[in-house]
């Protein structure tokens, strides 16, 4: 990671992030930044989203996303914030890899407030067939919801997933997709 400066709007947050660089490891302890923002009664969600979209400090986008996920995992995001997080994930994944989706899915799945947004995410993957690993991602979201027990998979979605599972060509994956779809059907 290369840590640069920012414009006026994000200066404060960038300064906090820079102050929390863990030197030997070349990473930022975002938890300390979130704690500081909370202590000062600031709005970490709004500030992280603004930082992510500030083109002057785009090198800090990654940590804005990390911070937002951490807030999601603490149940501090609304459904609208969750949609913003997924949009940020869409923007980051082409550079940082498909793993960004798995991390966001895990973070959103643990809260009943944000888990329902993943249902829309699953429908979207089935409809748009993007990004490249869209089918596996959709089922990863189903699996996360089943694992955390935070949102019910509607019957129509479970049936659509069962149909989609059989389209998977990789046998190792297909068996698991069918198993996940069956679990979603049974959970209803």
């Amino acid at each position: 990671m290369i840590f640069g400066g920012g414009d006026m709007a994000s200066d404060y947050l960038v300064a906090l992030l820079k102050n929390q660089v863990v030197a030997p490891h070349g990473v930022v302890n975002v938890r300390a930044v979130l704690d500081e923002l909370t202590r000062q009664h600031r709005d970490p969600t709004a500030e992280l989203v603004a930082l992510f979209h500030d083109p002057q400090v785009h090198e800090w986008r990654y940590y804005a996303l990390v911070g937002l996920r951490a807030l999601a995992a603490q149940g501090r995001l609304t459904a609208q914030d969750a949609r913003a997080l997924l949009a940020m994930t869409d923007a980051m994944a082409p550079y940082a890899g498909v793993d960004e989706y798995y991390k966001s899915i895990s973070a959103l799945a643990v809260s009943p407030q944000t888990a329902p947004v993943l249902l829309d995410f699953i429908w979207e993957r089935l409809a748009r067939k993007t990004p490249e690993d869209w089918r596996w991602l959709a089922f990863a979201a189903v699996g996360a919801l089943l694992d955390q027990g935070t949102a019910k998979i509607p019957q129509d979605l479970a049936k659509a997933l069962r149909d989609e599972a059989s389209n998977e060509l990789d046998r190792h994956r297909r068996v698991q997709l069918e198993e996940t779809a069956d679990a979603a059907l049974k959970a209803n």
Binding site: V22, G26, Q74, V98, Y102, Q176, E179
Partner: protein
Amino acid sequence: MPFYRSQLGRFGDLGATLTPPAEPDLMAAHLYAANGSLVGGRPSLQQVLSSKGLWDPSDPVWQQWRTVFGNLRNNYMAAGGHALPARCPMQWSSFPTGGCGHELTPPLSHWNLRGFSQSLPSRPDTVVSRPNGTLGVDEASKPMWLYIVTSYGEILVTAEDYEWIKHPCLAGGYEVWSAGQLGIERHEIRLVDLRSGHYIAPNIGATTALARRLLSFTREVFEQYTRTLGVNCLHAQFDCIWA
């Protein structure tokens, strides 16, 4: 294949250039063991083993663990478990299809679980309480501590340095049987998860039979490793979670 041409011999060329008449495999091994930086004299084998917590392979206690691990792995395999293939979540335009730049990067430092546990008294918590009442590894607590279980039963640990060091860096070519992150609470390992973008996420779906077997296998490996080898670092309520 000579060591210096293998995945673990990534310092091989450097090793060969330091003292050309010397055995390059030996040089590469020294450099790798010393985290790529040799200042002063080369460390002895015993110094390297001690610095990382590794047992001499002929140590009777280690031999005992090898037997225990062999049984665990055989049971896991009989239930359908297997070594995990790596699938890099990033696309590398300059690499052949399936190539992974992480594989070519050694960790800045690494230990086995015993070596890592010696530093636990100075490590901050990395566990978060989640709104559905579960515990997880806090992604915001950096550095993230990554582990793998190798085919010979070792649990290796490294930091996710520069957000670049990933599980394949730690594996260095070894077969990986489990991989994830460590959750630290009050200087003990409270939980381990199975979050690995290379080894788990692209291969195994949450809540599947495969996932349940891997969770059980990983939990048993950590519990029996620490019990057999006398490594006292697991929390009384230690758990292995999916994510």
